[in-house]
Amino acid sequence: MAQKTYAGVTVDVNEEGYFINPSQWTKEIAVEIAKEEGITLTEQHFAIMEFLRNKVQKGEPLSIRSINHSGVIDVKTFYQLFPGAPLKKATKIAGVPKPASCI
């Protein structure tokens, strides 16, 4: 297990930088991780990250399809907000473990 320091707080992450304990996450931390990924966070980013965090908390699997049912944004916008690999980037910034989903 590795540790990283964001916004003055030391958090536990895996070797790829994903949070092990989502409760260590704060919005200030998210802003710093996003900066590493080259993303400036907006309200929309935070809204969809809240959706992802809630799903993880409930133990529900994450998928790209679920974004369309989030009521927050559609998949196309999701790809625009987190360019490249959106589900991976969004979960990393949202402080939840890396999703183990193929879809």
Partner: protein
Amino acid sequence: MEQKHNIKKINLICAKGAIEDVYATLILGNGAVMEGIETNIFFTFFGLDAIIKSRMDKLHTAVVGNPALRLPGGLRMPTLLGVIPGMESFTSWMMMGEMAKLDIPPVSEFLELIDAGGGKIYACKLAMDMFKLKKEDLWENVIDILTVGEFYERAGGEDSHIIFT
């Protein structure tokens, strides 16, 4: 940052139209898009069924000549059972139901997810001609109808891979 040598481009060719053939293509394609990999999917021969509006969400799986097909519980499905009228529809319906439980979308929705992420869907010109299909028969977001040569032109580039499912 996370990986040393990433795949940059994936080009999938789908030539068969059974549920498992089409879904193998769609899962690999969508997975590539989700990883931020540039993705082209080329549907040809019976694979065209996956992008024909009237057929895409009514695909079947083979119940005859499919030795890996098993009944619920794990017993092999006897080939003779497969010839019972309605068995193919029933088995296909069961399979789609099992996939839906895993949050795997119907073909049309799956293609929309790929499209939303920037994946490109193409149809094969020769197969279209052979089956007497027209552009209007195709799903509206199919980018183009291509010859083999045109497909290869689009498939080029550094770290580009062609996968025949």
